[in-house]
């Protein structure tokens, strides 16, 4: 068949759990590759638990996002799975008017500034991002 994912695409070369050292591990591999993946996962589960959306709605939106990524011709080798979760979550929060994208951008800038304003080794708090650098 003429799909882009023909026989030339191999499962070999996809990052295997053993290569991702030093990360949270269940008995047979790391659950999340990066801490932010765990955060996104937990936020989605928690918002679902609070009733913001049904799980069927979530899987439908996630499927749509994954199909879009495939249409764009991206490799999508599983290591970007939680990026798809993040994008799906963002779009859903905008759709449902929970927040606006401009707010997210502003808060991301504040967080970045908070890091820059915090001495190395000290905990970083969002409020530190409101002071401009000296």
């Amino acid at each position: 068949m003429g799909t882009p994912t023909g026989a030339a695409v191999s499962l070999q070369g996809i990052p295997q759990p053993a290569e991702l050292a030093g990360l949270p591990v269940d008995t047979e591999g790391p659950v999340f590759a990066k801490p932010w993946e765990a955060q996104v996962f937990a936020i989605v589960i928690e918002l679902h638990r609070q009733g913001l959306f049904s799980w069927a709605e979530w899987t439908e939106r996630l499927s749509t996002q994954i199909a879009l990524v495939r249409e764009r011709g991206e490799a999508d080798l599983g290591d970007t799975y939680y990026q798809h979760w993040l994008t799906t979550l963002e779009l859903m929060l905008y759709d449902k008017n929970v927040m606006q994208d401009v707010e997210v951008r502003q808060y991301a800038v504040r967080w970045r500034q908070a890091y820059l304003n915090t001495p190395h080794g000290k905990p970083v708090a969002l409020s530190s991002g409101d002071d401009k650098p000296a």
């Binding site: 026989a7 695409v9 936020i43 439908e60 997210v104 991301a108």
Partner: protein, 211 residues
Amino acid sequence: MKDQEHPHEHDHTEPPGDLELKVKALESLLVEKGLVVPAALDVLIETYEHKVGPRNGAQVVAKAWAQPEFKEWLLEDGTAAIASLGYTGRQGEHIQVVENTPMVHNLVVCTLCSCYPWPVLGLPPVWYKSAPYRSRAVSDPRGVLDEFGTILDDHVQIRVWDSTSEMRYLVLPQQPSETQGWPEETLAGLVTRNAMIGVEKIPPPKAQGAP
């Protein structure tokens, strides 16, 4: 004039990448809006990192191998039989257990979005969430099994189960014949995550590993 024209590199913390900053922004906004409590997120992460995993599924499989009546129940009503062991929760609302036999080999995939039976297997491995697996498990299951080192005889029929938000699947692998009569705890130690997805079989135990 300043004493230090060049600030020492430890005077700030290197910010993380854009993705992580965005996640932090989302979380802060959700907390401020009262939709999320950070402690609840920590509990969820702890649970899925350390408490829910394929050992749960291995217990289910071992019990089915050791107790024919439990196996019968498991194949008839997987959700209830699994819940009786305490493995319930999200993405485990409806679980169908499919049995491997000498004639039939089952393989599980989610072609759309990587649905997976969390209560018994934890969260899915990287390859399960990849586009090549999603497409090739359906178009070329024998080739996929081959890459996992699983060679099936030509006469073995392969059944591919496509998970949905409504129904998840767990493969009941074939018990190695050498292990008949072994205690459940020992049997559970033989069962791998990949065998319960259906990409591998349970190899016969090494002779010295027998109890």
